[in-house]
C-alpha cells in the first residue's frame, strides 16, 4: 500500500491535489468559530447555494474558468446578505433562506435547460458533492487557489485581534470606536472566498461541514479563542490529508471522504472533551 502511495506521489496531479486540499482545509477552518458563533453560519450555508447557482450560470455560458464568475457572484451576495441581516425589519434568516433555495432551484433549472453535457446528473452531483476525485485540477486552478488562500490567511492573521473583538462583543467594539460594520463586511467577503475555494474540494452541499466541524471539534477541548483557532486549523489539515489519501487509495469520492474523517475527528474530540 505504501508503495502504491509513493508511486502516486510521482504524479504532479496528486501533488496538486494535496497542496490544494491542505490550503483549503486550512483556510476553511479559520473562520469556523466566527461562523459558528455569529449568525454568519446561515450566511455560509446560503452562500454555498449561491455559489452553486453561479456555477450553473458559468456552465451555461461555457466560461472556461468557473471561478471568475462564481467568485464575484458569491462575494456580492455575501455583501447583500449582510446588509439585509442588519436590517431588523426584514428578517435576515428568511432573506438568506429565500436567496439560497432560490439560487439552488434556479441553478438546477439553468443547467437542465441549457446544458449540452450528456451526463447532466453527474455534473449536478459533482457540483453538489464535489467531483469524484480532485485529480482533475489544472495548474491554473492550483495557482488561483494558492493566491486566494494566501489572501485569506493574510487577512485573517492581520485582523485576528479585531475579528475576535467583533465576534465576541460587537456592541463594545462599536462603543470604543472600532469600525464593526467594516470588519463584518471583511469577514463576509473572506467567508465568500473560502466557500468558493472549498467548493472545489467538497462541493457546495458539504462546505458547511468543512468549515464548521473542525471548529466544533476544537471547541470541545480548548477554551481560549487562540487555542481553538490553532487546533482547528491543524485538525482540519490532518483530516483533509487523511481524507484525500484514503480517497485516492480506495477510489472513494474525495469530498465526502474528507467530511467523514472530520465527523470521526469530532466524535473523538467530543469523547476527549467529556473525559476532561
Amino acid at each position: 500500500m505504501l508503495d502504491k502511495l509513493i508511486l502516486y506521489f510521482e504524479y504532479p496531479m496528486v501533488r496538486y491535489a494535496l497542496i490544494v486540499g491542505v490550503l483549503i482545509a486550512l483556510c476553511s477552518s479559520l473562520l469556523g468559530v466566527t461562523l459558528v458563533l455569529k449568525r454568519f453560519s446561515f450566511i455560509g450555508d446560503g452562500l454555498s447555494h449561491v455559489a452553486f447557482g453561479g456555477i450553473a450560470i458559468a456552465s451555461v455560458f461555457n466560461v472556461s474558468h468557473e471561478m471568475y464568475v462564481v467568485l464575484p457572484i458569491t462575494v456580492i451576495s455575501a455583501v447583500l446578505l449582510l446588509r439585509t441581516g442588519q436590517n431588523t425589519r426584514i428578517k435576515g434568516d428568511a432573506a438568506i433562506a429565500m436567496i439560497s433555495v432560490g439560487a439552488l432551484a434556479f441553478g438546477y433549472l439553468l443547467m437542465n435547460i441549457f446544458s449540452t453535457s450528456s451526463n447532466l446528473a453527474g455534473d449536478v452531483c459533482s457540483t453538489l458533492f464535489g467531483s469524484m476525485s480532485i485529480l482533475t485540477l489544472s495548474l491554473s486552478d492550483v495557482v488561483l487557489c494558492v493566491v486566494l488562500s494566501v489572501f485569506v490567511l493574510t487577512v485573517f492573521v492581520l485582523f485576528y485581534n479585531k475579528i475576535f473583538a467583533v465576534t465576541f462583543d460587537e456592541n463594545f467594539s462599536r462603543a470604543v470606536g472600532t469600525n464593526a460594520s467594516g470588519y463584518n463586511l471583511l469577514i463576509a467577503i473572506v467567508i465568500a472566498i473560502i466557500i468558493v475555494l472549498a467548493m472545489n474540494l467538497v462541493g457546495s452541499l458539504l462546505i458547511s461541514a468543512l468549515v464548521i466541524f473542525p471548529a466544533l471539534s476544537a471547541m470541545r477541548i480548548f477554551k481560549s479563542f487562540l487555542g481553538v483557532t490553532v487546533f482547528s486549523a491543524i485538525l482540519s489539515v490532518i483530516c483533509a490529508l487523511l481524507g484525500i489519501i484514503f480517497s485516492i487509495l480506495a477510489g472513494t469520492p474525495t469530498g465526502s471522504t474528507i467530511v467523514a474523517v472530520d465527523v470521526a475527528a469530532f466524535a473523538i474530540c467530543s469523547i476527549i472533551g467529556n473525559l476532561k
Binding site: N161, F168, D169, A175
Partner: protein, 234 residues
C-alpha cells in the same frame, strides 16, 4: 471645559420619544449616577452617548479633546453565546482594540495595561480561565477590566452590579469609587438609589420629570424625594 455636555437631548426609537429635554454636564473627575424607573431610557441614553444610536433631537458635545475611542464601556447585558471559547486574558486585552488603529497586534505596553487592569480587579489568577465558566461577579470584573483597558478618562457603566450578591456588590462599588478617586470620570446607571447617593457626586434622574444636579440638590428636590420614598416602600 466639560467632558460631555448635552443640550435638549431627546431619546427615542423610530418615531416615539422615550425621554426629552435632557440637559447635563459631566466634568473631569465627576461621578454621575443615572437613575430612573425600568424602561425610562437609561440604557438608551448610554447608547446614545456612545454613538451606538442617534439622538432623536438635541446634541451631545464632547469637550476637552475627548475622543470616542477614549471611552470605556460596561454594557448592561453582554449576550455572550454559550460555548464561546475566550479566555479572560483575551477578553481583557480586547479592550485595547481602540488604541491599535490598524496595527494588527497588541504591543508590550498594551499587554502590560491588560495585566495591570486584571491585577486591579483581582482577577490575575483567572487570566487563563474560560470566561463562560466564571461566576457572574467574576465575569463582571472581567468586563470592567476590559473597559479599563479602553480608557484612562471616562467609564460608562450600565448597572454594573446587576445579578451580584450584596457582598460582591459593595466590593464592586468600592472598586468603581477607587477608580473615580484616581481621576477616572464615571457615568453609571444604577437601580440602587442608596449606592447612588453614597458614591455619586451628581445625579441625573430621567423619566417624566428630568432632574440633573449634585446629589445634595437631588435629595432636596421634589423628584428626588418622591423617587426615594417610593424606592423605600418597594
Amino acid at each position: 471645559m466639560s467632558l460631555i455636555t448635552t443640550k435638549d437631548l431627546s431619546l427615542g426609537y423610530d418615531n416615539y420619544a422615550i425621554a426629552e429635554n435632557i440637559n447635563f454636564t459631566v466634568n473631569a473627575g465627576d461621578y454621575l449616577c443615572i437613575v430612573g424607573e425600568n424602561g425610562s431610557g437609561k440604557t438608551t441614553l448610554m447608547k446614545t452617548l456612545l454613538h451606538l444610536k442617534e439622538p432623536a433631537a438635541g446634541t451631545i458635545e464632547m469637550g476637552d479633546g475627548l475622543k470616542s475611542n477614549e471611552i470605556g464601556y460596561l454594557p448592561q447585558q453582554t449576550i455572550v453565546q454559550k460555548d464561546f471559547p475566550a479566555s479572560v486574558r483575551e477578553i481583557v486585552i480586547s479592550g485595547c482594540q481602540s488604541r491599535m488603529g490598524l496595527r494588527p497586534f497588541y504591543n508590550k505596553e498594551e499587554k502590560k495595561l491588560a495585566n495591570r487592569s486584571m491585577e486591579r480587579m483581582g482577577i490575575s489568577d483567572l487570566a487563563g480561565r474560560c470566561y463562560r465558566e466564571l461566576s457572574g461577579g467574576q465575569q463582571q470584573r472581567v468586563l470592567l477590566a476590559r473597559a479599563m483597558c479602553a480608557t484612562q478618562k471616562i467609564l460608562l457603566l450600565d448597572e454594573p452590579t446587576s445579578g451580584l450578591d450584596p457582598v460582591v456588590t459593595v466590593e464592586m462599588y468600592d472598586l468603581i469609587k477607587e477608580l473615580n478617586d484616581d481621576g477616572i470620570t464615571i457615568i453609571m446607571v444604577s437601580h440602587d438609589i442608596e449606592a447612588a447617593i453614597n458614591y455619586a457626586s451628581h445625579i441625573l434622574h430621567i423619566g417624566d420629570e428630568v432632574f440633573f444636579g449634585t446629589k445634595y440638590d437631588y435629595l432636596n428636590s421634589k423628584v428626588g424625594r418622591l423617587f426615594l420614598s417610593r424606592q423605600e416602600v418597594i
